[in-house]
């Protein structure tokens, strides 16, 4: 009798468990397998509810639902969203599409989340007669691709550049790093600390050497340094290191810059205490509320150490990835094409103060010079050459600690190069 009860209970549990799984999978969209339009799509966003991007995407979703009748169930998951997407997709569930960024493509690829995005990029945007692929600049398309194709549909673009105050420098356009150095030295001579730097953020410190390396050695140089100790001996690498050394030795950064508590330095820059800061295109909107009335921030591509070399733009992007296991690929493509209409992507600039991904959507005025640099760049690369996803251990254990010491002035250029070579060799075995 007892065995029979146990058997019945086990069967009931199994049925309930399977039923629950079935329900979960159905949430991620099942009707497309029958060829019918799905009643709803599931979208996992990373934005916090109430942020400009979340508000914008909610209004796009509302318009889409009104027009097509397809509901989009959006869940704003904020921090940790990437891990939740990977875990859910690994267990056969997860959203139909989700927020992602350029630096997450590799991990989503490795976790089997991303599939072939090609057909989605060929989808025509309603009322425009052009596909998603056709409205994006080539530099952006290149940046969002890996060896398996496009990683996601980008709505926003970001980059690294030199922020300055156009109220103070209306004609600021240094053609080279040396010219920038001279301008900064003059400002220091007048008693101001010209450059703000939150040196406690090692990624911000690394912007300096990376931007200099890009102009001397070209895109992908950080990857070379990570993979080949001999790359540390290249004359182009030495030239960039010596350029940074000259900046550090000229003491142009704010006092005690290695001890600032983030975001003290960028706030001080926004308040007009310093004229320059090397940072992302997001900094303008990030510090807008703290900006002094007289400051008119603008951002330009970092002046090249070697102006004779071609221009290289650092390109990052935010956008929508599509779950390779979603059975609603066509419906997701339809929605993404709808969302990529110019009228919506323009609002990335007006509502969220970021650079829109489309070539024909203007950026906010402070970002327009940088947007032109991205559009016209001869070569593009990812932030940090994408080394954070390809060689994260080298980045965290070798490069960033060493770069911190170099930026802090504790190492000369020669010591930086020698230690970098030795530690890379030791790590690579």
């Amino acid at each position: 009798m007892r065995n029979r009860v146990i058997a019945v209970a086990t069967c009931a549990s199994a049925v309930l468990a399977l039923g629950a799984c079935g329900q979960k999978l159905q949430d991620a969209g099942s009707p497309a397998s029958t060829g019918a339009e799905p009643a709803s799509l599931l979208y996992w966003g990373k934005w916090a509810k109430g942020t400009p991007q979340a508000n914008l995407f909610e209004s796009v979703i509302a318009d889409y639902t009104k027009q097509t009748g397809v509901k989009i169930d959006v869940q704003w998951l904020a921090q940790g969203q990437e891990q939740q997407v990977k875990n859910a997709v690994a267990t056969g569930a997860g959203p139909d599409f989700f927020d992602t960024a350029i630096d997450h493509t590799a991990e989503f690829r490795n976790a089997g989340v991303l599939g072939d995005m090609g057909p989605i990029f060929k989808t025509k945007i309603p009322g425009e007669g052009r596909s998603i692929e056709e409205v994006l600049p080539k530099s952006v398309l290149k940046a969002i691709s890996d060896d398996k194709g496009y990683g996601f549909v980008p709505h926003s673009v970001f980059s690294i550049g030199l922020w300055y105050d156009s109220a103070k420098y209306p004609d600021f356009a240094p053609r080279s790093f040396d010219e920038l150095l001279e301008i900064a030295k003059k400002e220091k001579a007048s008693g101001r600390a010209p450059i703000a730097l939150d040196g406690s953020v090692n990624a911000y410190n690394s912007f300096w050497i990376h931007q200099m390396l890009l102009s001397t050695a070209g895109p992908g140089i950080l990857l070379k340094l990570a993979e080949d100790p001999a790359a540390w001996d290249l004359p182009e690498v030495k030239r960039a290191a010596e350029a940074l050394e000259s900046l550090v030795q000229a003491e142009l950064f704010e006092p005690d810059y290695m001890a600032t508590k983030f975001p003290a330095a960028q706030n001080a820059w926004a308040g007009g205490k310093h004229s320059f800061i090397l940072n992302g295109s997001w900094l303008g909107s990030e510090t807008a509320s703290l900006r002094a009335a007289e400051v008119k921030p603008r951002i330009i591509a970092f002046p090249p150490v070697d102006p004779a070399k071609g221009s290289v733009a650092t390109v990052g992007a935010l956008g929508w990835g599509v779950n390779a296991k979603s059975r609603n690929q066509r419906a997701v493509a339809d929605f993404l094409a709808f969302a990529m209409q110019k009228k919506y992507i323009d609002r990335i600039a007006t509502d969220a103060a970021n650079i829109p991904s489309r070539a024909d959507s203007p950026a906010p005025v402070e970002l327009q010079q940088l947007q032109a640099s991205i559009r016209d760049a001869e070569q593009v690369t990812l932030d940090g050459d994408g080394v954070s996803t390809v060689k994260p251990k080298w980045l965290a254990d070798v490069f960033l600690p060493l770069d911190d010491k170099f930026v802090a002035g504790k190492l000369t250029a020669a010591e930086f190069l020698a230690e970098g070579k030795a530690k890379t060799a030791a790590l690579n075995g």
Binding site: N87, S200, V201, A264, A396, P401
Partner: protein, 322 residues
């Protein structure tokens, strides 16, 4: 207390047998109930503690990046990699330094409070005030730090105002930040340990101190010969709790350095190093869960060793209040 006759009159042998037999039946019944009553707790313990712990041990011999990725066995490679990593060694040494230095500071503060607070006026208020930092979230601590220790923050401003400009320091620079973090941990944790040991001091009968005073014992001698022996057990518990907390020090480091960057090697503890392995470190931006598990094993072993050591140091014949 009333002593009844039935308590003193010996029972007849037959009564004893009956009692023994009924006790035996009761114990048998109890034994039959043990398993069903214990089973839910055992299952919960097994599922939520033992199995995950064992999985952690197993994982330390593997390379794995979580669900959806392949698990491969690497033997002792994670441990060998740790031993060869300059950053791991630095975080290991810093964790030990933090645990020992802060532990000593906490012991001294707790000792001083046992002498002073026992008789001080407003003792309850002081205890509450000292306990307050323990209740503050690390995020708030981080914000406070930005005001206090920034190069143009309150500390340097105060030193400047006092004419002590030569003492102004870049407190959050890599070479100083670990000292500031240790000071922050002392500030944050002292209240908890003071309250803990004072609860034991409060249990000591005042008459002991009266006798000591009549015998001419100073405050320090009263502490040495009355307070310390009678609070030894609580001190041992406090030491064990600190060993566990010290080795796991994590959020206050993040609060001090902020979340915008990776904590500098000079500020990393083992838990921070483990966090960095979990949040990505393997090619492809995937977590290094194997290495993170190996660090976890090392942390557990150190904690166990420190607890055993603290118990051994404190081990004396148990004294009990009469």
């Amino acid at each position: 207390m009333t002593v009844t006759v039935s308590d003193t009159v010996p029972r007849a042998p037959s009564d004893d047998r009956r009692a023994t037999s009924s006790r035996g039946a009761l114990q048998g019944e109890r034994r039959r109930l043990y398993l069903p009553m214990l089973l839910p707790a055992l299952i919960a313990y097994l599922v939520f503690f033992v199995l995950p712990s064992l999985f952690g041990v197993v994982l330390s011999f593997a390379e794995w990046s979580g669900l959806g990725t392949e698990l491969s066995w690497v033997g002792f490679a994670n441990y060998v990699a740790m031993a060869g990593s300059e950053l791991f060694r630095a975080s290991f040494v810093q964790t030990l330094i933090l645990t020992l230095v802060v532990g000593l500071a906490l012991f001294l503060i707790a000792g001083a409070s046992m002498i002073v607070l026992r008789t001080a006026r407003g003792s309850a208020f002081i205890r509450a005030a000292v306990f307050l930092p323990f209740m503050i979230s690390p995020i708030a601590v981080g914000l406070a730090v930005s005001f206090l220790f920034n190069p143009d923050g309150l500390i340097n401003a105060a030193l400047g105002a006092l004419g002590l400009t030569e003492l102004r320091q870049p407190w959050l620079a890599p070479e100083l930040i670990f000292n500031v973090i240790m000071a922050g941990v002392v500030w944050s944790a002292a209240g908890f340990y003071v309250v803990l040991v004072m609860s034991a001091v409060d249990g000591i009968p005042p008459s002991y101190y009266e006798v000591a005073r009549i015998e001419g014992a100073s405050e320090l001698q009263q502490f040495r010969y009355v307070t310390l022996p009678l609070t030894r057990d609580m001190l041992a518990i406090a030491a064990s709790l600190w060993a566990i907390a010290g080795i796991k020090t994590f959020e206050i480091v993040i609060a001090f350095v902020g979340t915008a960057g990776t904590p500098p090697p000079e500020a990393r503890t083992l838990a921070v190093e483990q966090y960095l392995r979990v949040t990505g470190g393997r090619e492809g931006g995937l977590a290094q869960l194997g290495e993170a598990a190996a660090i976890g094993i090392v942390m557990t072993v150190i904690t166990a060793v420190l607890i055993v050591l603290s118990r051994r140091i404190q081990r004396r014949e148990r004294l009990e209040l009469a």
